[in-house]
């Protein structure tokens, strides 16, 4: 058995490619932005694990500060991995359905402070039944759909009804509300604040509706990377579910206080005039519905012409000095889609390997 694992100290030039790399200085800068923003706030960061999938990295943000000590996961299996990795305060940000999966979730709640979001009465009752069976207690947050047009309750009546049921059921503890948000394009700071506040206010309105029924709401988990500094300025938000900021991705690079830290190192394997072939394609990079990565340092010069399973062809818009064997960095269009394809991160500092970390929650789909 052999799996590639470069030794510490290896120079970037000597790495086998393609290779998923973390620029450690950049990632630490991103963590520092968060620790400073949240240093004196009631609202704290609850970093999302779904695009990092590695407990060691999540622990680094917790150690660097600005968090509430907890994290988010998207799936039960991710949560299981994180508990094993020493992080026990977890919010699962998807609905968990089905007896077997609920039993895994409620069993995990005996080993950690586990919270999950719900948007359906029957699901809530099944969760309670499972928790009772496992003699555990699971925290409940009601998911509010604000802008994703996805799961989540659509109005305050549904939320109030769910909160009332949750209060009566054993094995579950109603805590509050949560929401995800999204924003298109490359908004300026003013737009981010306006749009972000609008969505967070929708979540807070649900909080108020529930409180008006005499039910205390202690957790409002709302906000993402693009609203990391919006949420801290809105009273009532207790935590933000940021994930992208850690490694960053090209579409969010308009937030220039963060630096792209997650990259794929590739090698030029062919040059034919204006066409340059690199040794990474769909399998390594992903290109959901035609959205392709960006070549670092060549954003306006090199663009993806086509992708194949394991290689891609770039087209050059002007003369570039690249030969077979030249190395390039690619910035992902979506870091969680990218990271989920790889088994390890190679951490570089000043172009030398400082650490290699297994992406232990890779492929944790269920």
């Amino acid at each position: 058995m052999h799996d590639y694992r470069p030794i510490y100290g290896t120079d970037k030039q000597d790495l086998e490619t393609p290779c998923l790399v973390i620029d450690l200085d950049a990632m630490e800068n991103n963590f520092d932005v968060i620790s400073k923003e949240y240093s004196n706030t009631v609202c704290k960061m609850r970093q999302h694990a779904k695009n990092i999938k590695c407990p060691e990295i999540l622990q680094k943000q917790i150690a660097q500060g600005g968090t509430n000590g907890g994290i988010c996961t998207a799936k039960v299996s991710e949560a299981e991995l994180m508990v094993e990795g020493g992080i026990t305060d977890i919010l699962i940000t998807s609905q968990i359905v089905g007896k077997d999966k609920l039993d895994r979730l409620t069993a995990l709640a005996k080993r950690g402070n586990i919270k999950v979001c719900v948007d359906n009465r029957d699901n809530l009752i099944e969760l309670s039944t499972s928790a009772v069976r496992n003699e555990s207690v699971v925290g409940i947050l009601i998911e509010v759909d604000t802008s994703m047009n996805r799961a989540g309750i659509r109005n305050s009546e549904e939320a109030v009804a769910l909160a009332k049921i949750a209060q009566t059921l054993p094995g579950v503890k109603f805590l509050g509300v949560m929401s995800h948000q999204t924003i298109d394009g490359e908004p300026d700071r003013e737009t981010r604040f306006l749009e972000g506040k609008k969505y967070i206010d929708m979540c807070l309105a649900i909080k108020t509706a529930i409180e008006n029924e005499g039910i205390p709401v202690t957790v409002v988990s709302s906000g993402e990377t693009f609203t990391y500094d919006v949420a801290t300025r809105i009273q009532g938000v207790t935590e933000v579910e940021g994930g992208t900021y850690a490694l960053m991705s090209d579409p969010t690079s308009y937030m220039n206080e963060f630096t792209i830290a997650g990259k794929v190192l590739v090698t030029v394997i062919d040059v034919k005039g204006k066409y340059i072939t690199i040794d990474a394609g769909y399998r390594e990079l992903g290109g959901p519905l035609g959205i392709t990565p960006v070549v670092e340092g060549f954003k306006e010069i090199l663009e993806f012409e086509c992708m194949s399973d394991t290689y891609s062809v770039l087209r050059s818009h002007s003369e570039v000095s690249l030969d077979i064997g030249s190395l390039l960095y690619l910035h992902s269009s979506q870091s969680d889609i990218l990271v989920n394809r790889w088994d390890s991160f190679v951490g570089l500092r000043k172009d030398r390997v400082e650490l290699v970390l297994d992406i232990t929650a890779r492929g944790c789909h269920n």
Binding site: V97, D119, Y275, I324, R341, W342, R362, H365
Partner: protein, 357 residues
């Protein structure tokens, strides 16, 4: 890596934890039998593309446990995984660039027969030099392409000159040409065959020339005749052809569950881009169910009704998704649930998954 939530052998497909990648073994075996018959009659050799699934165990069925049969994979590290499982004849799709990969190829050549692509003389010189120091030899082939979409030389390039120069370098043994021919790149026609014929004549020597061809279409039975110049056909998708109506369960798919139903005509599945990939399109759902995939985020899939009839789907109901690209979906899983007669019979690993180098 993926955490397998192993259910007892004998569990119904529909009780697996989701999302779950599965294959329907009977359907797969029927596809293998069908294609074997076709190739036996055609006197051509099928070199299965195993990079699609990355599972040496699944590959065993394709080669009927005869490890002398040749296979194709994309990368050296995938080849290593298959060689560890006993495969002895492997064609590699990606060029071997740089000293690290050349060393890798050299070391692997000590144990098994590998064939690598070469498209330029400098690359050939580097590899030749490394192999000459060890007194070893490696097979090479030249990919030919009429499109920038695939790696290779054009018929207008001096292929004859390159092949003959590489042969003179020593330690590199010419094994033939390689052509990608699929829906995107339909290269084979009368003109091409005529050019190829001349090329074979000008580059053949005492060394035998094997011609490999990669096709991605699963309909390899329809027009094998037009590949008269080729000895070998590379294909992997035939394994997952689900068009055989004898089977209720497709040859492969991703089982998912309804996890949210917040409003009429919208259901959310627990399978998103991370568990099936939409790089080459959205997954499809059997038409009889009356729903289709409308969009997918990283973790969720949104399905909507395709007609006016009321659809009765509840939380927890299972939906089988057919990936737009089988290889892209397999690339996301470390385990394959093997289904026979609707029940789980085994769980196989995709050893070569994620081996990109």
């Amino acid at each position: 890596m993926e955490r397998p939530v192993s259910k007892p052998i004998g569990t119904s497909l529909y009780y697996l934890d989701t999302p779950a990648l599965f294959i329907n073994k009977a359907n797969i075996q029927a596809n293998i039998s069908k294609v074997d018959r076709i190739f036996t009659e055609s006197n051509k050799f099928l070199r299965p593309d195993m990079s699609i699934h990355g599972s040496p165990t699944l590959g065993q069925i394709q080669i009927q446990a005869d490890h002398s049969k040749g296979i194709y994979v994309h990368t050296l590290s995938q080849a290593l995984k298959f060689s560890e499982a006993g495969y002895r004849d492997i064609t590699i799709g990606m060029p071997v660039i740089g000293s690290g990969k050349s060393t890798f190829a050299l070391e692997m050549s000590r144990d098994i027969k590998i064939s690598i692509p070469i498209t330029n003389l400098n690359n050939a010189k580097n590899i030749s030099h490394m192999f000459s120091e060890s007194g070893m030899e490696i097979l090479f082939y030249v990919p030919i392409s009429n499109s920038i979409k695939s790696i290779g030389l054009s018929m207008t390039d001096d292929i004859t000159g390159l092949v003959n120069e590489i042969k003179r370098l020593g330690n590199l043994k010419f094994n033939g040409y390689f052509v990608v021919n699929n829906e995107d790149q339909n290269i084979i026609d009368e003109t091409f065959n005529s050019q190829l014929s001349s090329l074979i004549e000008s580059t053949s020597s005492t060394q035998s020339t094997h011609l490999n061809m990669a096709i991605s279409s699963s309909n390899i039975d329809q027009d094998l005749g037009k590949y008269s110049l080729f000895d070998e056909i590379i294909n992997g998708t035939y394994l997952f052809d689900s068009s055989n109506e004898d089977f209720d369960i497709p040859a492969c798919g991703v089982l998912s569950s309804v996890m949210s139903h917040p409003e009429e005509n919208n259901w959310y599945l627990d399978c998103g881009q991370k568990a099936i990939s939409i790089d080459r399109g959205l997954p499809t759902i059997n038409k009889s169910i009356g729903v289709k995939v409308d969009r997918m985020s990283a973790e969720h899939g949104c399905i909507v009704s395709t007609g006016t009839e009321k659809i009765d789907l509840k939380l927890g109901d299972r939906i089988i998704l057919n990936p737009a690209n089988i290889g892209d979906a397999f690339n996301l899983y470390d385990f394959i649930n093997v289904i026979d007669d609707g029940k789980l019979t085994n769980v196989w690993t995709t050893e070569a998954r994620g081996h990109y180098r």
